[in-house]
């Protein structure tokens, strides 16, 4: 069984992997497929608000850190 892939890892990979980032810009579904994200994860990335994405990341990372109190 394939290892579960996480959205937070995908977002990190997008920032450091130019090839994946370019593929994502051209064909998001192909990029997410190649990384191994499931259908629910892909839907969230495609259409989620930042609040929904944040909620998913919190669940993945099991974290409840304090806000960094500034919005600058």
């Amino acid at each position: 069984m394939a290892q579960k892939r996480f959205i937070h890892e995908f977002l990190n990979e997008l920032e450091i992997n130019e090839e994946l980032s370019e593929l994502f810009d051209e064909d998001p579904a192909a990029a997410m497929d190649s990384y191994g994200l499931d259908a629910d994860q892909q839907e969230l990335i495609r259409n989620g608000t930042n609040q929904e994405i944040r909620a998913a990341l919190k669940q993945e990372m099991k974290t409840h850190i304090a806000f960094v109190i500034r919005m600058g």
Binding site: N12, T49, N50, K58, T63, I65, A66, I69, M71
Partner: protein, 263 residues
Amino acid sequence: MTPPRAGDGGSLVVVGTGIRPGHLTQETRKQIERADEVLYLLAELAPTSWIHQLNPSAESMIDIYGPGRDQREVYEELVERVLGRVRQGKNVCMVTYGHPAVLDDSCHEAVRRARAEGYSAHLLPAVSALDCLLADLGVDPGRDGLQLFEATDFLLHRRTLDVSVPLVLWQISVVGETRTTGSVNREGLSLLADRIEELYGADHEVVIYEATPFSVGRPTIERTSVRELASAPIEGLSTLFVPALSKPEPDPAAHEALKQIWP
């Protein structure tokens, strides 16, 4: 700027990443790459691997931001951790979220203290949440003007407003908070909503806005009335945009005076 202390070495540059990684400017990227040490504090869950790729020395300071801590203690600890490395003779890059000069006492204080101790220190501009708000909401501050206040400051000083000018209130989730927190202060938000209602009326539409910190997804743009604001879905990083209530009054005397100098 105070010149570096002869023989001691050590310098500080404070930079901002913008709201999401794609906002990084070229000069900021260079500073991160060239620094002896990189100390960063980014908002919550945004990706950070890219900072470590730019400079393997990168070190998060999120451990300082434990929940329930006095904010002044947190800022002091951030400043001292950064200054400690500068005093060791390192060329330090302090990296923060958004624009480092906007709503960040620790960035300003780190620069001020480093200069006072004789080190070279400066702060670079970056993309702020306000820049994202202007783009996402289609607001042009050059057309109608813009008023900006930190929400607690707005209440505490009963700031005078011109309701014909759009208003931005920062940090509406933590009105009255003096400690780090992971939840919205609804009581503070309610006080803020009462004050806005006095000025604009209960039916006036406001926008709860949050730029997306991720390279995917959409910004949050929730329209609601002032009446509903206190119970509206607010997140930790929400900013409030209050559109103008009325048109500005023209000044006929100024109009006449300007006509005299127009060709």
